[in-house]
Amino acid sequence: MIPAPFEYRRATSVEEALRMLGDGGEDAKLLAGGHSLLPLMKLRLAAPSMLVDIGRLRDLSYVRDTGDTIAIGALTRHRDVETDPLVAEHAPILAHVAGQVGDPQVRHRGTIGGSIAHGDPASDLPAATLALGATFEVVAPGGAKRSIPAADFFRGFLETALAPAEILTEIVVPKVTGAGWSFQKFNRRAQDWAIVGVAAVRNGSTGIGLVNMGSTPLRATAVEEALAGGASVQEAASHAADGLDPPSDLNASPEYRAHLARVLVRRALEEAAGSSRS
């Protein structure tokens, strides 16, 4: 399978990438690790006229301690998030989830920024950023910056709050050092995407992100509200699929996904309660 022809440009800075994107117009796309975009292009489900390769922007690959938060460069690869000591200490769920993405080969190439910008409801890291209450830093042509909370970022199927000419530069994660957490990824074979996944972080209040339970990565707001209102884990978890419209595919019907969500949310909350060090 061979992608349709495109023009290839390699950016050496964010400013240059923004300029190239501008030159390329509506049909230009950023290429980070290429592990979502290239498979789509090979299937000809995507045929951008221009790829702006930002894979070499190593100055966007970092993890930094920024006080109450840690900042992760958008081009940081899954493998580097998985093994970073700062992430392990202050947001261990993120290190764990990065280690659950695909397989080692995928983790050597795919980036956290690409995973978030792609906005696939079946992807793991977006759910973790929702549970953590992360914020995404974005830069627009001309250099204007804005911050978008994860909860406002995912808008529709593979659709995010990013404008076509914007670049996601950084993921800012509140430190949840010692907090209880759990990631439940339900799949049938090693390496597979989650049929349903649940990310939970218990740090005073509880944040819960859901994988593959709708057209976007989602927050389990009904469960979060039930817990905030004093519901038991059992009772709160029963609301895991409330108001959601889970997809139907070869792996699962919507009813089965709703069932899985209730069971996995309960397990996640129990594990998060057990693993809490606070």
Binding site: L38, D103, Q105
Partner: protein
């Protein structure tokens, strides 16, 4: 466009289409057909090569993205007539049946031992989750990788 990279120790520059995948570059331009194409959908791992020392599925990377990189394919492992410790271990433990997944399996295993020099059996199984063997010959593959980890010559190099 021109791409330059070091493949198995020798540097080369070729004029390629931007859409050329690394696996096609290696097989058709560099003539190194040891890297197999299996599923062509990033799933099976048959096309695994090392890019700057790390395992990568070469069907999911453009040759253009490997510009400037050091690429190692199965052909680049042996030292003249003597097999790489990982190849030796696969031979010794019969870590193959039809052999189609073998080049990718070996490359993924070399990368795995670089990251985890002394893996447990579970770590080997997890570390090779990106590589499928349709003969289901996993048992001996895992034995081979565990044996390679104990080989004196250092199979992760």
């Amino acid at each position: 466009m021109d791409v330059s990279m070091t493949v198995n120790g020798s540097s080369r520059t070729d004029s390629v289409e931007p859409r050329l995948l690394l696996v096609h570059y290696l097989r058709e331009v560099a003539g190194l057909t040891g890297t197999n194409i299996g599923c062509d959908t990033s799933s099976c791992g048959a096309c695994t090569v090392l890019v700057d020392g790390e395992s990568v599925k070469s069907c999911t990377m453009l040759a253009a993205q490997a510009d400037g990189a050091e690429v190692t394919t199965i052909e680049g492992l042996a030292d003249g007539e003597s097999m790489h410790p990982m190849q030796e271990a696969f031979r010794e433990h019969h870590g193959l049946q039809c052999g189609y997944c073998t080049p990718g399996m070996v490359m993924a295993a070399v990368s795995l031992l670089k990251e985890i020099p002394n893996p447990t059996e579970a770590q080997v199984r997890e570390g090779l989750e990106g590589n499928l063997c349709r003969c289901t010959g996993y048992h001996n593959i895992v034995q081979a990788v565990l044996a390679a980890a104990k080989a004196p010559a250092g199979a992760g190099s």
